[in-house]
């Protein structure tokens, strides 16, 4: 029977070209046909060509055809569902820490459940439930956090005792457990059959499927996909979807203009056994034992068990190698530790007979999240790959979102965490990928505490001040390949302790960051913020202004030297980006946006700016080092260094001027700090960076200057109720929903993107509202700290989730930011959220199952602002994602 499991797919006669799809039964499956079907010639053109006949490709085809696309061709180099999909363990699990991945898995589960009925193809769908075990208290906390988010989505889930585990699965050894999480609706499927069912349905809806056809490259002209070259001829097409799994990287690089898809394969092992003496019930729940690094599911009366080992074996770094695929062998010595963990968890299996150790490569991504979306450089080139070994859980939802993306221009949910454009060419180095996936694979089951960081592939992009800051005790985190300072360890502190104490509770750096914050409030601090994305837009005439006026919601026709905070909105009024734009001259603008906007923002602007050689868009990120001088004494430091008066009369807030600092001239000084504190950001041509930094530090000494990091910045901006794009703001959030109506100029005299949507919101009200919460009965020293993603309850009813949080050293309380919705008590329908609705409620924040009272506020504490500013000058922007 095992042979069948692995072989059953290659035995299928796949008459893809037949318009009437032959209904398959299991009896037909096992009868192998010897004659090759005569290959039907490929069409000369199609609207969409999908490359890859695994779960991803078939799911995209299924959803596209359901959404009304007719002219679709799916190409598979071998047989359908014969790659990673064939070997997939078939566990559909919704317990995912990232909300969008959770939604995809939830949808997949519902889709697979009815797929057999819809298509007539047996999918082996069985609702077994799953149990995630915790061997430590910290693990239990992380499970409780996931349980909280499952519960508010209406997915049944409970934290159970070890005893209950034993009741649900009598073979489990529970003596070392502290608890577990039970998700009763998780399921098992035959992943290959799910894929075939999707293909069957797609084929009925008119999708043409061609096996044994491999794509050699995709042709791109003028930044658009024009067609696909295959070993059986060319197909012209409008859209191409790369679902090539572990070959996605190579396929992306096969054309003249590479599309960078950062995935890398690792070997993945799981064990199949013969049935037990008394065969295991096929309804027994799946066991996930992350502390033991293994999963165990029932399989044909026996078990299937694999895991994510500490020392993964990356492969295909040099590219595809057929020989190597065939030679992928069992490696029992490598599997040894996982086998020990399995026998420790289920000691009763000692006598169970081994059937096979399967070695099945899986593809992983640099940040453990899958990759979907459109190429930033080639329009119409879509990607869905890098499932980090959760392909079957994501397959349904991911295919749906990608289909929506092609059909509607964007999915129905915010998928930025999965967007291909979060990566650039810099994550495309094979060495980087090889090293990073060796870290990612064990991380699948490692405990992830707040603010964890990747350790591999570091020190790639650095500020010129890196070594200088490092020598002063800087501790680093990474964003988009750029090293950024978290905080500075004072001399004499025990460094090892700080690096090793990772916790869900109060962290060791609490006092360090506290003193940096204090210095920002009372004296002056320097934060190196060079990682921000910086663009310059200039033109010979008014083209720059005109284009920007259309692409941005605030009025950019301001006097030269003014800085404007504005959203870059989509048609629905949602934030594609949140920027500060300085008008350098009548015809040129300097635009600052978050670090990870480098690829997305570039593509957004390139695709929308008129094709006019007199209008130039330039990425100048690498040209400038940015130093943020925060604090009341920043003005003194700068005026002494420049011999220029810097007081509010001469240099008002939200102003930008090129001036000299020390010996260096041409420093762009902007009176913003991204925190609401007084101060300036200095944009320094990189060759002056060290000089200016030294001058600032020397001159600053008498004003008590010190270095500070992003943790201090975050505490400052959150207590001031500043939303950051990527953390709080996304493409589904409008300025109206986060109290930024003042940054929208509906009457600026010309049309802009998103205007209609915002007008409608202005008239009809908003359906969610960005709110600040002050935790009331939370003990900073003893209680679990909030992170983000915690459910918010109003009058004991779920109303939304937090998006970021920080300890406010000024308020001496935790502050959470998040969105409040208004769901109708009977129907669950979303209603307009009014100020009264926000203000007249009792709020609680759920941290890992424990609720804390919170006070809701729609405006920041005015007392926190040390300087009085004009209302419209109040700086409400900043960019960072923790």
């Amino acid at each position: 029977a095992a042979g069948m499991f692995l072989r059953l797919l290659s035995d299928i006669q796949w008459r893809a070209a037949h318009p009437k799809w032959r209904r398959m039964t299991s009896s037909q499956r096992s009868t192998s046909t010897t004659a090759e079907p005569h290959p039907v010639s490929l069409p000369a053109q199609a609207q969409v060509v999908i490359c890859g006949g695994g779960i991803m490709g078939t799911s995209v085809a299924y959803h596209l055809s359901k959404m009304g696309f007719k002219d679709i061709v799916l190409l598979e180099q071998g047989r359908l569902a014969a790659g990673t999909t064939r070997f997939c363990a078939g566990i559909v699990s919704t317990a995912r820490p990232v909300s969008i991945e959770l939604k995809m898995a939830h949808y997949s589960n519902k889709l697979y459940q009815q797929l057999e009925q819809e298509t007539g193809v047996q999918t082996g769908y069985t609702k077994t439930g799953s149990i995630s075990l915790a061997q430590t208290q910290d693990r239990l906390i992380s499970l409780k956090r996931i349980a909280s988010s499952l519960n508010v989505m209406g997915i049944p889930c409970e934290i159970i005792s070890p005893k209950k585990v034993l009741q649900l699965h009598p073979m489990i050894n529970i003596h070392d457990l502290v608890g577990a999480m039970y998700v009763p609706e998780d399921a098992l499927v035959s992943s290959a059959n799910v894929s075939l069912a999707l293909a069957t349905a797609a084929s009925r809806n008119g999708v043409q499927i061609h096996e044994r056809t491999s794509v050699s490259h995709v042709t791109i002209q003028k930044g658009r996909v024009t067609g696909v070259e295959t070993d059986r001829g060319r197909i012209q097409c409008e859209y191409f979807v790369n679902c090539a799994g572990q070959w996605a990287y190579e396929l992306g690089h096969s054309g003249e203009e590479p599309v960078h898809i950062p995935v890398h394969a690792c070997e993945h092992f799981y064990l199949l056994t013969h049935p037990l003496q008394e065969p295991l019930s096929n309804s027994l729940p799946t066991i996930v034992d992350p502390d033991g690094r293994i999963y165990i599911r029932n399989w044909q009366g026996g078990i299937l068990s694999g895991g994510f080992e500490k020392n993964p074996k990356p492969l295909f770094t040099e590219g595809r190698n057929q020989l190597e695929i065939q030679n992928l062998q069992e490696d029992w010595d490598h599997f040894g530790p996982l086998l020990s963990a399995l026998l420790r968890r289920m000691p009763g299996l000692e006598a169970l007979q081994i059937m096979q150790l399967v070695n099945c490569p899986e593809s992983f991504t640099p940040d453990m999240r899958c990759i979907m979306g459109e190429s930033p450089t080639a329009r119409g080139y879509f990607v869905l790959a890098g499932m980090n070994s959760a392909g079957i859980s994501y397959g349904g939802g991911a295919g749906k979102y990608l289909a929506e993306w092609i059909v509607n221009g964007y999915p129905s949910e915010n998928v930025w965490p999965l967007d291909l454009k979060r990566f650039g060419t810099l994550q495309s180095s094979r060495t980087f990928l090889r090293h990073r996936v060796m870290e990612v694979m064990p991380l699948m089951y490692d405990l992830k505490v707040p603010r964890w960081d990747f350790q591999t592939g570091r020190q790639l992009r650095t500020s010129p001040l890196y070594d200088r800051l490092d020598a002063q005790g800087a501790r680093w985190m990474e964003k988009h390949g750029f090293e950024r300072v978290k905080y500075f360890v004072p001399p004499g502190s025990d460094l090892l302790d700080l690096d090793h104490s990772k916790t869900f509770y109060k962290p060791d750096w609490f006092d360090i960051v506290g003193s940096e914050v204090k210095c920002c409030k009372e004296a002056v601090c320097v934060i190196d913020m060079s990682s921000f994305t910086k663009f310059e837009i200039s033109s010979t005439g008014d083209q720059a202004l005109e284009s920007l006026q259309y692409l941005f919601s605030n009025d950019l026709d301001v006097p030269v030297g003014h800085v404007v905070h504005t959203g870059m909105l989509n048609e629905k009024g949602g934030y594609e980006n949140d920027c500060s734009i300085a008008r350098l001259s009548k015809r040129s603008f300097f635009m600052i946006s978050p670090t990870d906007q480098q690829v997305h923002c570039w593509a957004w602007l390139k695709n929308r700016l008129p094709d006019d050689s007199n209008l130039v868009l330039e990425d100048v990120t690498w040209k400038y080092t940015a130093l943020n001088l925060i604090g009341p004494r920043a003005v003194d430091v700068l005026s002494e260094l420049s011999y220029a008066p810097m007081t509010a009369e001469h240099f008002p807030s939200l102003f930008c001027k090129e001036m000299s600092v020390g010996y260096a001239n041409g420093i762009r000084v902007m009176s913003i700090t991204h925190t609401g504190e007084p101060g300036f950001v200095l944009y320094i041509p990189i060759e002056y960076a060290l000089h200016v930094y030294n001058e600032v530090m020397n001159m600053g000494q008498k004003y008590g200057i010190r270095n500070a990091g992003y943790y201090a910045l975050r505490s400052l901006r959150i207590e001031k109720f500043f939303a950051f794009w990527g953390q709080d703001l996304d493409a589904f959030t409008t300025p109206m929903e986060c109290g930024r109506e003042f940054q929208v100029k509906l009457d600026k005299g010309m049309e802009f993107l998103g205007q209609d949507a915002l007008l409608e919101q202005k008239q009809n009200g908003v359906y969610k509202r960005f709110t600040m919460f002050i935790l009331e009965d939370h003990d900073t020293d003893m209680d679990l700290w909030p992170w983000w993603g915690e459910p918010i309850f109003r009058n004991d009813r779920y109303v939304g989730k937090t998006t970021s949080s920080a300890y406010s050293y000024t308020l001496e309380r935790h502050v959470c930011l998040g969105f409040v919705h208004h769901f109708d008590e009977q129907t669950g329908e979303e209603l307009v959220v009014t100020t009264d609705f926000i203000n007249q409620g009792e709020y609680e924040i759920d941290i890992a199952g424990q609720r804390f009272q919170a006070k809701a506020k729609l405006y920041p504490f005015s007392s926190l602002f040390t300087q009085r500013r004009r209302k419209d000058e109040v700086e409400l922007s900043g960019y960072q994602r923790e």
Partner: protein, 458 residues
């Protein structure tokens, strides 16, 4: 009585240490895969020392063994200090300036070395300030000298050795107001130590040797067999050139008394060494320092004793001989060891034993289930047994341990005889030194792929 195999193992493994160079250290690809080191004491306490560190401000890795005599003070000091002197000698002018400025303004220093130490390898806390000040004086002089030329590794090694020996000598002459430190610097100066240090950077391997420890390269021939290449010359009476050198440096009248019974002045086995001021200072200086020194020193017969026929000091130098070798893909490993190893084993045997050990561990036959009926429990037992075998008597996890096992336990057939091993290890302290010397071994394994890639580039 006999020691059981686990007891033998626990003695052999007490000082073993391994370091794997991470494939991704975030900076560059290293030609070194890692190293194994170990020590087996015969003296109590052991007089050998070992050191290993990665240079953080320049490229390359430093490894060294130090064989002390007349106590362990000198070997200890050299093991702590020498790599700093070498690293500083290699530093470019700007980095030296930066470091000096940092010290000057009380800022945090750039780290110079990343040490790879066994928990038993200690650093003297009390002397760190004194050592640091001497080192700082050295780099200040380097800054003032600023030759502007790029640093040659050979020269850097020679300068570092000579400078440190000079500092050891000066510190003893100047003394220290703190009586503990004062006694310490005198013990360092009056005891002695050899040093055999390797610097590996890409395909460039430099070995600087002072004394009778030895560096040996393990080379795998095309037919898979192993051969040994010496990368150092012993500085002792067996080395004609060395005897010749010593004779050249002293008047003809002393020719007969210079080397007696294969020893320098009839006393010292190594012909070059750190410390040993009794063979370096003038008689007046020795007397003055000993008399003004603490009572412990004054009462010590050894320190008071002036070598016979002592006319034209110095008789001893710490200046190393440096050999440069360009690594080739067939160069698989480097063994650095004190004479305790080399007097029991021929280098050819060392090359073979380490070579076979290193390839053997990696070429264990994979298991395949195939069509056999195997249960999970059986497989688990098999895997556990395979893992255990690797770490058992004949399969050490550390190449240096493996070598020591052979050095101490080999019978006339060249195989480890457990009985012999057990006997040798259970000798009482006072007898042990009669049958064997302290043994210290570092086995450095090279990455042939990286070395091959370097070669292709050139």
């Amino acid at each position: 009585f006999y020691l059981t195999p686990p007891q033998v193992n626990s003695i052999l493994k007490a000082n073993e240490y391994s370091f794997k160079v991470p494939e991704f250290d975030g900076k560059n690809v290293s030609s070194v895969l890692g190293f194994d080191s170990n020590q087996l004491p015969a003296n109590a306490p052991i007089e050998d020392r070992r050191s290993a560190a990665t240079c953080l401000q320049t490229r390359g890795m430093l490894l060294g063994v130090f064989d002390g005599h007349a106590g362990c003070a000198c070997a200890q000091a050299v093991s702590e200090r020498l790599f700093y002197y070498i690293a500083v000698s290699l530093l470019p002018h700007e980095t030296l300036l930066e470091i000096e400025n940092a010290v000057e303004s009380g800022r945090a220093l750039l780290p110079i070395l990343q040490w790879h130490k066994h928990p038993n390898d200690y650093f003297s806390k009390e002397a760190s300030k004194l050592y640091f000040n001497s080192l700082r004086t050295y780099w200040q002089e380097l800054i003032d000298l600023n030759s502007g030329e790029t640093t040659d590794v050979r020269e850097a090694l020679i300068n570092a050795f000579k400078r440190l020996d000079n500092d050891i000598s000066l510190e003893a002459q100047v003394g220290d107001p703190n009586s503990f430190l004062n006694y310490l610097v005198l013990r360092v100066a009056f005891s002695g130590s050899t040093a055999c240090v390797a610097h590996v950077d890409g395909v460039d391997l430099h070995v600087a040797n002072t004394g009778d420890s030895r560096a040996m390269l393990g080379v795998q021939e095309e037919d898979g067999s192993w051969s040994a290449v010496n990368l150092s010359y012993d500085h002792n009476a067996q080395n004609e050139h060395e005897v010749e050198r010593v004779k050249m440096e002293h008047p003809k009248s002393e020719e007969k008394s210079l080397v007696k019974q294969d020893r320098l002045l009839g006393l010292l086995m190594p012909f070059r060494a750190f410390g040993d001021v009794k063979f370096k200072w003038s008689i007046e200086l020795q007397k003055r320092v000993v008399e003004s020194g603490p009572d412990q020193l004054n009462e010590n017969e050894y320190t008071k004793f002036i070598p016979p026929n002592y006319y034209t000091p110095p008789y001893l130098t710490a200046e190393p001989e440096v050999i440069h070798h360009k690594l080739r893909p067939q160069d698989k490993f480097l063994v650095l060891a004190t004479d305790g190893l080399w007097e029991t084993m021929h280098r050819q045997d060392v090359a073979r034993i380490v070579g076979e050990y290193l390839t053997g561990v990696h070429h264990q036959q994979p298991i395949a289930v195939g069509g056999y009926k195997v249960t999970l429990g059986q497989m688990h037992g098999l895997l556990t047994e395979r893992r255990a075998r690797i770490s058992s008597v004949f399969e050490d996890q550390n190449a240096a341990t493996h070598l020591i096992r052979h050095a101490v336990g080999n019978n006339e057939f060249g195989t480890v005889d457990h009985e012999r091993l057990s006997k040798m290890l259970s000798l009482p302290e006072e007898l042990a030194r009669m049958y064997r010397d302290d043994i210290t071994i570092i086995v450095v394994q090279f990455n042939s792929h990286v070395i091959g890639a370097y070669q292709n580039e050139e």
